[in-house]
């Protein structure tokens, strides 16, 4: 196991743990106002300080982790659940009109960055965390479809697939039995990367007001609130930013580490 993998796993589980613990315990009520104690820098009572309403930043960061993880995780789930079957189908029917339609559809979705989708949805239905999930999730579909198709195509050329076809197995069965298990590693790694991109995207969307709405705390909106106060209370901006960086860095390191660890070529060499 590489250093990347261990460091990534530690950082990611730290954030995950904070999010889970926040359901049963936070140092303070994250929504409790305490105006006399406002804008305190980090100290023994308030480890991350307090905001302009005197709310405890540590508690807000913990609950904000929940929002970030929930949005990014569901978005990755949408991307995988729709993208992987599309990619498998396109590869199994390579060169057919179905493949063409799926791939052109992918290209089209790629032309809509998740921010643009979020703008459209918000313009029509109003803002909310669901928008962020849908916007990021839609953008994830072509990512998974493309990577699945690419990996599956090279597998379809392999002789063990020919052998399975000679044994009378159909495309659906071969996709499930031979293709999917052999692209699973790749999907896990890509899933980790998309997870981290989802965290970043969610922060960006809630920063411009297209994501989770008050009173749900989110890291992006904490930064938006901090913007006017950054000159005299820099910790308001520093701390949510560092939370995002630690999470994304952790997930990226985890993804890289998993890639090296799961790569069969490297593992054979080690064995």
């Amino acid at each position: 196991m590489s250093r990347n993998l261990i460091l990534g796993a530690v950082l990611s589980s730290l954030v995950l743990l904070a999010a889970l613990v926040s359901f049963i315990w936070t140092p303070y009520d994250y929504a409790a106002l305490d105006i006399p104690d406002k804008l305190q820098p980090p100290n023994a009572q308030h480890w991350f300080g307090t905001d302009h309403f005197g709310r405890d930043m540590f508690s807000m960061i913990m609950v904000g982790a929940r929002t970030s993880i929930a949005v990014a995780l569901v978005a990755v789930g949408i991307g995988m659940a729709l993208g992987v079957p599309l990619g498998l189908t396109a590869a199994a029917r390579k060169g057919s009109w179905l493949d063409e339609v799926i791939m052109r559809g992918n290209d089209l979705v790629f032309a809509f960055p998740s921010l643009v989708i979020a703008i459209l949805i918000t313009a029509v239905f109003g803002a909310g965390a669901i928008n962020a999930i849908i916007a990021i999730g839609i953008f994830n579909i072509p990512v998974f479809a493309r990577i699945t198709r690419g990996a599956a195509l090279s597998l379809w050329e392999r002789e063990f697939i020919l052998a399975a076809r000679v044994s009378g197995k159909g495309a659906a069965r071969i996709s499930a039995e031979h293709i999917l298990p052999n692209v699973a590693n790749l999907l896990i790694v890509q899933g980790t990367i998309q997870f981290s991109l989802g965290i970043l995207a969610e922060a960006g969307l809630s920063y411009v007001g297209l994501g989770a709405q008050p009173p749900t705390p989110s890291w992006g909106r904490m930064l938006a609130d901090a913007q006017t106060m950054v000159s005299f209370a820099p910790h308001l901006a520093l701390i949510p930013g560092l939370a995002i960086i630690v999470t994304v860095l952790g997930l990226n390191l985890l993804g890289d580490g998993l890639r090296d660890w799961l790569d069969p070529r490297i593992r054979v060499a080690r064995a």
């Binding site: 002789e159 063990f160 020919l162 044994s167 009378g168 197995k169 298990p181 052999n182």
Partner: protein, 532 residues
Amino acid sequence: MSLLQIENLSLSIHGADILKKVSLSINPGQIVAVTGESGSGKSMTALAVMKLLPSGAQAQGAIRLEGQDLLTRPEAKMCALRGAAIGMVFQEPMTALNPVKTIGDQVMETILIHKAMPPPQALARAQEVLTRVGLPPDRFPLSRYPHELSGGQRQRVVIAMAIALRPKLLIADEPTTALDVTTQAQILDLLKGLVREYGMGLLMITHDLAVVADMADQIAVMRRGEVVESGATAHLLRNMRHPYTRMLFEASGHQVSLPDAADPRPLLEVTQVTRDYRLPRKGLFGTPGHHRAVDGVSFTLNRGERLGLVGESGCGKSTLTRAILGLKEVQSGEIRLDGQPVFSGHRPNPAVRRKMQVVFQDPYGSFNPRHRVARLITEPFHLLDTPPTGSERQDRIAEMLTAVGLSPDDAGKYIHEFSGGQRQRIAIARALIIRPELILFDEAVSALDVSVRAQILDLLAELCAAYDLTYLFISHDLSVVRTITDRVMVMQAGRIVEQGETEQVFSDPQHPYTRTLIEAAPVLPEIGTHVA
């Protein structure tokens, strides 16, 4: 003084010993062949002379070019030698050229990088060497890109790059292994001619003993990083002292005796089969062209018969194989197995499929790396209406593994735990497990070392006796087909140009193409009578 003198060269990569005290020498105008099976260290010896070793390599001993040691020579001075005093030709012509540069630029680069002459003369020299290697600029302009050339033509470009500055030493690492037999003969002739004309020394790395015997003045046989035997070709072939050398030569010309075939009753009938591929449109509004991969092929394979199919790459033999297996539909004609069509409507006919199995070439790509052997070899059970279960299934697995020379205990292992030869045995077990009427061997021994290949051929002969096999053996290797089949078909450009009894076809070929093929194939010298 010899041109190249390798003395006690030892090499380790990250601590693993690759070469052990290798010594050999080459004189000007001499061809020295280094041969051996995979892992023998023959290619590393060549790369060591170029000092293009992988990172982590540590070399000891001496490599002297005209008396000057290369191992102690600094990298900048090695760059001045490479391409100028030493040229090198590689195995894979398809990937050895930069795809985004023209062949003219790539040949001229050798000249210009050494500032050997100003650009106008360099251009003239590039044209001259390309003409010399058989690519005259009027037919092959210097502005061509590599993807516009065939494999053999690309190898000629690589050779032109290597000889552009008339190096004293040329190193050729398996230069013809990736090429068809007729192309191979032309490239070997070209190399021989260049050695004679320029008085170069040629260090030739090859696994093919027939090529060695045909080309080399001196031979060095390597095994596991050591030279086990070396000497002048004629002398060495007469007096092979080392048992490994003898084994290698015997395995290369390995003969098996097949049991007599049963009474001829037709099993596979192929009639007037044609298969086209669409080519990309020519021009903006042109109609798409067609490439006829298989063109009106008809033949019959009798029960108990061992039929060979030979031909060069692109002759249509893979397409024909896929069509017989029911993996590809044909445009016209019919393929029947045991009287039933392989395709019924547009779907493969399951009743026919269960009578057929296949063994592929690549021992590494033929198995799902995530499944255990038991699951791998029982995959064809999917074709049966009532596949065996429980202890019956276990017995079948054990029987098959034993039949192909493995142990029943191997059923629980993963495929990466096996060597290439063992994997090919597992592939045969998978093909045999449903007792098919017909097995297709698609280049099934082509990727194997000669000693392993000999063992697999022996196994096939044994299985013929035990299971009354009927098979179609598809291969580009004439010597293998000659020993493992009763009858043979020769395929060229989608057509079967000749078929008949194997011995008859090989000893008295009727079609000119068959004759070309047989003449182009390098022949192993008769060694049996001389073995001590």
